[in-house]
Structures are given as structure tokens and as C-alpha cells.
Subunit: 457 residues, 2 copies
Amino acid sequence: MSHPGATATDRHKVVVIGSGFGGLTATKALKRADVDVKMIAKTTHHLFQPLLYQVATGIISSGEIAPPTRMILRKQRNAQVLLGDVTHIDLANQCVTSELLGHTYVTPYDSLIIAAGAGQSYFGNDHFAEYAPGMKSIDDALELRARIMSAFEQAERSGDPARREKLLTFTVVGAGPTGVEMAGQIAELADHTLKGTFRHIDSTTARVILLDAAPAVLPPMGEKLGKKAQARLEKMGVEIQLGAMVTDVDRNGITVKDSDGSLRRIECATKVWSAGVSASPLGRDLAAQSDVEIDRAGRVKVLPDLSVPGHPNVFVVGDMAAVEGVPGMAQGAIQGGKYAANAIKAELKGADPAEREPFQYFDKGSMATVSRFSAVAKIGPVEFGGFIAWLAWLMLHLVYLVGFRRKITTLLSWTVTFLSTSRGNLYITEQQAYARTRIEELEEIAAAVQDTEKAAS
Amino acid sequence: MSHPGATATDRHKVVVIGSGFGGLTATKALKRADVDVKMIAKTTHHLFQPLLYQVATGIISSGEIAPPTRMILRKQRNAQVLLGDVTHIDLANQCVTSELLGHTYVTPYDSLIIAAGAGQSYFGNDHFAEYAPGMKSIDDALELRARIMSAFEQAERSGDPARREKLLTFTVVGAGPTGVEMAGQIAELADHTLKGTFRHIDSTTARVILLDAAPAVLPPMGEKLGKKAQARLEKMGVEIQLGAMVTDVDRNGITVKDSDGSLRRIECATKVWSAGVSASPLGRDLAAQSDVEIDRAGRVKVLPDLSVPGHPNVFVVGDMAAVEGVPGMAQGAIQGGKYAANAIKAELKGADPAEREPFQYFDKGSMATVSRFSAVAKIGPVEFGGFIAWLAWLMLHLVYLVGFRRKITTLLSWTVTFLSTSRGNLYITEQQAYARTRIEELEEIAAAVQDTEKAAS
């Protein structure tokens, strides 16, 4: 598919979908290749997702974990960054459709790397999302921060003890790394950062509940570390409820089904959902056009070389791909992105796609922070927890942050927060404080119109 | 108005409306007084407004200029911070009505300090606001940053030269300090920070237009400094159009009436409005109940002791007050807030309100930055510009920022931005990138319903 007059477009065209760990790594790995790379991403930034919980709890500013992708790739002349929401991949015609504010764009490719990631899964109950935001994007983190802070503000003004209690109950659904980190940080916020700043309420009386349908905290880290994290959280006052499945969520609370089958209700204004992931809908789009299958989480069951059956030039990497033994973590995406880029480079030099070595994941270990000065880590057979694990976690995340300046400001934010418990990023916007009601009002009018139209037709 | 059982409420009750320079200074000045202070504010933070333009252009993060007010006042045990939008002041019954998310609160006072500030004025054309946001709040700054960055992103994707030109034209209406600072920073963003990050467009070809109906730039700074600022901006490529009055603003551009009476059109996607201020509507509320008058900008014409005629216990300070010789700047609010607090303290010790010395404003001078390394300053009869003024501006703003940590991170952000031209806070949220269309859609449905209802009645 060459275009008249353009020399650049005569080169092998690689399209990369997504600017997360997978997409960014793949693009960078193609730096010296004789290709044109177009990265199409839904956001203008590369999100450093492992620190998202620190934005949601006011420790760091969102800019620190969201550098503009085009700044990172400024010097990579063969790469172009394009903002757009990819809505369709046409495997037969080798092109990608994306949309931006009412405009539709079609981008042809010779090779395609799909790294569109995953969103939160509500297991078929998508209406939970409005009341219990997930933890997948900057939007989510800022929304949750506003809800947490706003709950305290509303409680300070309320004269009704029951309403105050509801406002001061924070429920985190899902006891994986994100859930553990959020529960721990909300507890520290209430017990230390906000302590003594209210006159009518005592922020340290806030309840933080961490719920999971599974019988353990941090199941992938094993029983020993899970118990360690649980003990630490409980010492901080977090209530842990295991074998507890959420059956309903509304504005005022959640309904929980315990392992004995009984139902109970928790009144709580603020709910955080970190219970499951659902791969980008582009997986379904691929499955409709090829022999590829998707699993229950919507992830694409790729071949051992991460390609889509029948389309050796189309790779799926990161959270969107279902590959045995590869966890849904940054390392899985980074290694997958690099593998796909290397395969493209090898074939430009004449290698046969049919002879690719299968993708092999190298497990660098996993870790999760529980609170300041405490984390759990698992590196191969070695498991450890406490202060050393926390220091290791700190160092590792600092090393992986993009840019020298970001490392410095983040280190500064951490030093201040961990030593003084103060946090620099707790403001909420006026829109967050008041305008939700305007949107609710508009949604109601829109719903009423739709009802009227239905009745009329 | 004592309440049963409470000792605290038997103390003299001071209500302060607003958490800006005036309200915060007044509250702090009452620290050692035998009073109960309730500060009711629309935002949870104290906004350091002079640096808002740096948030709007990505130099600093919003957290750096928006510390939570309750953190600042944590140790002041006689002060309580309450979030709420004050909708009414009842002078006869001495109480203030505020609203927060559907709840209404009434707060009684013995003394009242009103420091609710001012919003942007569109001189009767409030519908301009949607297309040309002002520069008064964190919301405004984040919205403008998103619009500026989004315009570049859309231009990179557009194949239509006319649309690209429209997207790459940025118009700033109003050549006061904020307008000058915004125009200068948008130009630096386009010429330096974003340079080389796009492939399809050249960000340095962006047009930045600074318009004013007045015949000069920075009129209050005098002709010499105005010309200096103008020359510097023009050297940076900013087009300055004076004697140009904006008569209409829509999604795609603005209509301008020149001094010769002719009309012309500027196609531009991004518009910044910094042309005028309009005091809080609480001014009108006061005028309806007392002998006080308001001026054209909605400011309250207070007595020489900043009180409302007939209500010596009600003070209006800052941008909301019309006082001869006091400019609408931080210093006016700070000095007014301190004066009102001191008057209350003196009267608690037996002073007669009728014998108050009139408020006297001490002019500490004024300054405005034009670009990095260049500012203009006027201190009494001394006028100077260039690098020295810029350094002075830097030092002064750093000193006035709240908190040691904020001074350090801001200094770091400045060092990086001014030396390397890179900026740490340029991300836009997904909501900002895409969801505006959802709100537009809802607004349209709502408008249609209202039309139908009108037709039916």
C-alpha cells in the first residue's frame, strides 16, 4: 500500500495501539529499524499504573506518573504519536480505525502491535461502575481522590450521625495489590494526614473495609506473604472481610454475600473497585474476524509467538493477551512489546515468521506495598516482607519512572509524605465538589426523554 | 444566640466567607482571639491565584498552588473550615446560608467577613464562557490546559489545512497581567516545549494573538512598562491587537470590532478570556438588604472601614470590595482581611466600632512576567523590566507560596522549565479528551426538552 509521492510511507508501516508499558516498549524497540511507526493511543500520556494509588490518595501529582508520550518519543524520528480511540481493526484490509472528537481516521499497517490493555471488570454488573470507580486511569484516580476527600468534607458538615457514619466508611472491593495499597493508604490518610484538621468529626474514626470473594489477601503472592500483608493491614485498623462477594452496589452502600450464603448490607458513601480486569473490547473485534478465541476476561488467546492465528503480522501483548504463565503486570507487557518489535525487525532482515522462537516470560518477581515502611515481595523462591521489601519497592519504582525530573519530584513527595505524613495533592476541583449534580440532572432529563420517546413509538 | 450545653458557641462567633487571600489572612489574624471562627468556602483549597497561568500551561501541578485550607489551619484550634457554596447572607438575622450537594446549612454569626472574591466577567455575554474559559479557578486552568494540548493533538491528526490553522490559532482576550502571562506561556509552549514532538504539524507555526479593547498592554503599569512588555511579546511572535473589541465568540472563533468600527473574524479553536472581573453575586445579595451600593463590576461600595452601611459587624474585603485606590490584587485582599480581623479583636477588648481608623492600603507595587527571563515591575515610583524584574518576581512568589515543601517543588519545576523548556504537567484526562461530547449531547437534549415545554405551555 504505497502512496504517491511520499518516500516515508514506502517504508514498512508498523501501527502500535496503546501507550502503556507494552506499546511504549514496542515503539522504542523499533527506534533504529527501517520502519514508520504510528502509535495510536487513547490518552496523550504514558501511564505509570503501579503508582496510580498514590495519585488517588494525594501522595503524588498526576503529572508525575503521566508524561506525554510524544515528549518521551520526541527524538525517535521514525515514530509518530496519534491521539485517538481505536474502535476497529480490519484484519483483511490491514488497517485500523480510530476516532477523535467526531472525526474518524483510518490508518493502514504492514505490521500491527495491539497493546490496548484492560479496564476494570464488574463481572457483568457495569452499573456498579458509577458508584464504585475502578483504578485504571488518571481519571479514575482523580475521581476517587475527590470522592474520598469529599466524603470527609460532607461528614464535617453533617448533623446526622447515621449519615456521618456512612460518609466515613470506605470500602475497597478486591484484595489484590491495588486493593491492598488503596485500603492501606486510605487508612493512613484518615489516621495521620487528616488527623486534627476537622473540628466536628474525628477522621481517625473512619472505617476502611477491604473485601474479597477469595479466602485470602494477595492470592498470587502465596499464603505466607498474604497473611503478612493481612496482619499489617489489620494492625493499621483496616477491616478485612474474606469470602465476601459483592452482589449489589448503589449510591449509599453495598450488599455482600458471605461464604455461608447470608446477605448483609454495608452503608458506605465511598466505594473503590479493584476486583477484576476486562481486556480492551478490541479483543472481541479480533475474535469476530479470525480464528482467535478470547477468554472470560476478554483476553486474546494468541499463538506462542503472541500473534493472531492466520495473521503472523498482528501481535497482541500485555494485559490484552492471554498467555499461560504471564501475569497481568508491567513486566508481562514490557517483555511482550519487546518480543513483537524484535520479531518485526528480524523479518525485515529476511527471517521467516514461521520459524519464530515462542515468547518466553522471565519472571522478575512481584511486590506490593501495604503501608509506609511495609511491603511484601516475592522474587523467584525468595519471599520477604516489612521494611526491606518496602525499600526495595521504592527503589525499583523510582528506577522505572520515566525521566530524571520525575524521579526527583517523586522522591521528594515520598520523603515528605513518609516522614511527615503530609500530602501535597489533596485538592478537589469545583466540578468534582458540585457539578456531579449537574450531570445527574442532565442524565435524568435525558432518561426521561428516552422514556417519553419509547412511550410515543 | 447561644446553644444549650455548648461552651464553645458562647464565644463571639466570626464567620469568614472565602478561603482566598482575604479570608485566609483574616482567619489567621484571629488565631489568638477569644472567638470561634467558621470559614465557609466554595473550594477545599486556598488558591494561589498569581501562579494559575503556570498550571494552565503545564509548568507546575495544581497541587502546588492549591493546599487544602484545613491543613493550613490545622493547628488553629479556634477555626473550623467548612466546604459549601454560600448562597445568601441574612443581615437582619445575622446568619449565612450555604449549600453542599443538596444539603443546606445555616450558620449564625456575631461578626462577618465576606471575602468571596470575583469571577470572570463577560460583560453581559455569559454564553462566551463555554467557548472562552476564564482564569479564576483550578477548574479553569485545567480546562484551558486540556484545550490547548487537545488543539495541538487534533491538528496533528487533521488532513484539512483550514481546520489545522484554526486549531493552531490561540486567542487571549484581555491584555492585563493574566492575559500577558498566558499569551507569553502559550507561545513558549509552542515554540520550545512542544517543538519537535509532532510529525505532521510544526508546533512553532502556531499563532498566538493577544487582544484588548484598550489601546495599551498592561494599562495599570503605565505606558513605559506596557510598551516594554509589548515589545518582548512581539519578539516572541505574539501578535498584539489593541483597540480591538470582541463582539462575539463561538466554537470556531471570535468576531472583533476594530477602533475604526469595522468587524472582522478570527478563526481559532482555543480562546482564553481574561478581560474583566465580576464580583461574587453575594454583593447583589447585600445590596438588596442594606443601604450599600454595588458598582458595575458587582463590587460592594463599603464604608472607609470596609463595613456595610448600618452593619458595622459585616466587612467586605478583597476583590469583592470597591475601595478607592485599592487594586484587585492579592495585597488588597491580604491587607483588608487583616484590617477586619484587627477591628473585631479591638472591639472584643472594648473599642467602639464608630471610632475605627479608616482602612489604608499600602502599595507594595505590582509586577507581571512576560516570558522566562523577562518581567516588568513597578514599585512606587520605580519602574524596571527584564531579567532583574523576572528574578524579583520569582523570589517574591516563592516567598508567598504556602509551605516549605511547595516552595521546593515549585522551585524545582521552575528550574527545569526555565532551563530546559520541558514541562511536567501537560497530561489531559480522558474525560477532557473525549467526554465533552457527552456533556454537549446531554445539554442539547436538555435544551430540546425546555423548548418543547415552552411550546406546550
